[in-house]
């Protein structure tokens, strides 16, 4: 089913770097080409999707057709702050501690 003309455009190292950035992953330089190879192979297989006729089909995001399920608007007790902070890697008082945010993300 994998017709050659269905094969995706080759994934470049720059593409892999770009996707890693979108995914907030720090892929070490030396692993980029192995990852490129694996992803290319998987995308090559997935290309078989292009050979299926999908004209006029509504995408199916979910097996159940439930929409807008509403709960009763009843206040519930919240989880204690101490429980929520117990797993935090860095805490100051009742707050999560993070590095300096102002200055924006590196690009």
């Amino acid at each position: 089913m994998n017709e050659p003309n269905n094969q995706p455009a080759p994934l470049t190292i720059d593409d892999v770097r770009h996707v890693a950035k979108l995914a907030r992953l720090a892929v070490p330089q030396e692993q980029l080409s192995a990852l490129q190879h694996d992803l290319q192979a998987i995308l090559g297989h997935i290309a078989q999707l292009q050979s299926v006729n999908t004209d006029g089909l509504e995408p199916m995001a979910h097996p159940l057709t439930l929409t807008n399920r509403l709960g009763d608007d009843v206040p519930q007790p919240s989880m204690p702050i101490a429980d929520l902070l117990r797993n935090a890697p860095a805490v100051q008082g009742d707050f999560l501690a993070v590095p300096k945010v102002l200055g924006g993300e590196s690009s």
């Binding site: 089913m1 892999v16 996707v19 890693a20 950035k21 979108l22 995914a23 907030r24 992953l25 720090a26 892929v27 070490p28 990852l35 694996d38 992803l39 192979a41 998987i42 995308l43 297989h45 997935i46 290309a47 078989q48 999707l49 292009q50 299926v52 999908t54 089909l57 509504e58 995408p59 199916m60 995001a61 979910h62 097996p63 159940l64 439930l66 399920r69 709960g71 989880m79 429980d83 929520l84 117990r86 797993n87 935090a88 890697p89 860095a90 999560l96 993070v98 590095p99 300096k100 945010v101 200055g103 924006g104 993300e105 590196s106």
Partner: protein, 485 residues
């Protein structure tokens, strides 16, 4: 079948034995075997004994106890428990302790079940072999040089080696059924939405389903009955009544039709095809009608799955950012938030998880969304329609659970080849229907006999019929066998 959960429960409740003795025996077996099998990541000895004593006290006092009172149950470590840790077999959650219990944990413990420990999985349930577990590979009790399957391999191995009365797994593309087949036990994936996902660490939210891995079909039915039903904490839980599957289980199924997809007959090992053929003969002898059905998109299921599941995973796993919980990098090089996120995630996630996050991010990214993600969702509808057409001709679809018996540890290095293990199971999740894997004999061609499984699939919410048919098969089969080790 003298050690299934129902039998153990009955023995405790009729005071032939005690919960404490049952728990002690289970803990002793774990102490003996777990260093070799690595089924459990964590075992709650003291709490399990205390729970058992409390239940024995209730029984001795003549008080009524729950239907699961006293039975030791193992929990896949991607289902959150206040007791112990919940790690998803990932370094990123190595020290994570949940502040709440999953809905299934509440329902099981309210019925008296004793949580004996947390079992290993492929990291974040991404794998079919339990080799991608941060705490070491899990081994198959039938042959320790082979994989138990995955991702619920720790739970399947624990049941197979009798290290618990039953276990919970989760199934996103076969992760309950495939390890159950490879370990020679029962693995049941209910219809999507039948059991609350609240407290199941999300992988593919439109595919994930919790289910039991058990010694017998009647155990699976009982655990399902205890867990199924709507939950205000999960808006994707089906708001419909749960039929009583336990009391109807022993009824002989009324005239039913078994569908055999032509697409399920190629590329299987001979022992797997033979197991399916034996099952066909059994159902014929029972008076069932055997019909051919057509599922031409069986192969395309893997491609569809490897777009949808990674896409959902890349979104779900975005929550692991090193801020609120989980691993945070100690690297001084992380100067800003971006570095902190990326360094923490790449240190915490293993290679397969990172590969799937990358794949999911790619198929959702600008310029590729329509070609991959949207198209996969359209094909998902086609796959659902294919099942609907097939189920107009039959009540259950019979086939293999996995194309082969357990493979050797380290024997499958190509990620794509590993993905193909799930060719018969992913479409169940894509369509949101139910399926069960049953022990169905052995592959005798290898050095040690290895279990093979058959799968029965049924339409969404057809659990009562599916379980009845599975139980009828089990009664004739004589139940599961036990590894000698």
């Amino acid at each position: 079948m003298n050690i299934d959960l129902v039998q153990v429960r009955d023995d405790i409740h009729t005071r032939k034995t005690t919960a404490r003795a049952t728990v002690d025996q289970t803990l002793a077996r774990i102490a003996r075997s777990n260093s070799q099998l690595n089924a459990y990541h964590e075992v709650f000895d003291d709490q399990a004994r205390a729970d058992a004593d409390r239940i024995d006290h209730e029984i001795a006092a003549g008080n009524s106890v729950g239907v699961l009172a006293g039975v030791p149950i193992a929990i896949k470590d991607n289902i959150v428990t206040r007791i112990g840790h919940t790690t998803c077999s990932s370094r990123i959650l190595e020290n994570y302790r949940s502040p709440f219990d999953a809905t299934v944990i509440n329902r099981l413990t309210q019925a008296g079940a004793i949580i004996v420990g947390k079992t290993n999985l492929d990291e974040f349930a991404m794998g079919s072999s339990c080799e991608k577990c941060a705490w070491g590979v899990v081994r198959n009790p039938w042959d320790i040089n082979r994989v138990p399957g995955g991702s619920s391999g720790g739970s399947a191995a624990a049941v197979a080696a009798n290290l618990c009365a039953a276990a919970l797994g989760s199934d996103t593309g076969g992760s309950i059924r495939q390890p159950a087949a490879l370990c020679g036990v029962v693995g049941f994936k209910p219809t999507y939405g039948r059991i609350s996902r609240y407290g199941l660490v999300a992988f593919g939210s439109s595919l994930d389903q919790i289910g039991p891995i058990t010694h017998s079909v009647r155990d699976a039915a009982l655990l399902y009955q205890c867990m199924a039903g709507d939950d205000p904490h999960d808006s994707t839980c089906a708001p419909r009544a749960v039929e009583d599957v336990v009391t109807t289980l022993e009824e002989t199924p009324r005239a039913f039709r078994v569908g055999l997809p032509v697409q399920y007959r190629k590329g299987n090992s001979p022992s797997v095809d033979a197991a399916v053929a034996r099952a066909v003969d059994f159902f014929k002898a029972m008076g069932a009608t055997i019909v051919d059905v057509d599922l031409p998109l069986t192969d395309v299921g893997i491609s569809t799955y490897y777009v949808i599941a990674p896409a959902e995973a890349s979104s779900n796993l975005a929550r692991f950012d090193g801020i609120r919980y989980g691993h945070r990098t100690k690297s001084k090089a992380a100067k800003d938030l971006f570095d902190l996120y990326a360094q923490s995630r790449s240190e915490g996630f293993g290679p397969e998880v990172q590969r799937r996050i990358m794949l999911g991010t790619y198929v959702l990214s600008a310029g590729y969304y329509d070609a991959y993600y949207r198209r996969a969702l359209q094909i998902r509808r086609l796959i659902k329609q294919e099942f609907d057409t097939a189920f107009a001709k039959c009540d259950v679809i019979l086939g293999p659970t996995s194309p082969t018996a357990a493979f050797s540890i380290g024997g499958m290095t190509d990620p794509l080849a590993m993905y193909m293990c799930d060719v018969y199971t992913v479409n169940t999740n894509i369509a949101g229907i139910c399926g069960i894997s049953l022990p169905a004999g052995f592959d005798e061609t290898s050095q040690m006999p290895l279990p093979v499984g058959i799968q029965l699939q049924a339409q969404a919410f057809a659990e009562p019929m599916l379980l009845k048919v599975a139980r009828a098969y089990e009664r004739v089969q004589g139940g599961r066998k036990y590894p000698t080790a």
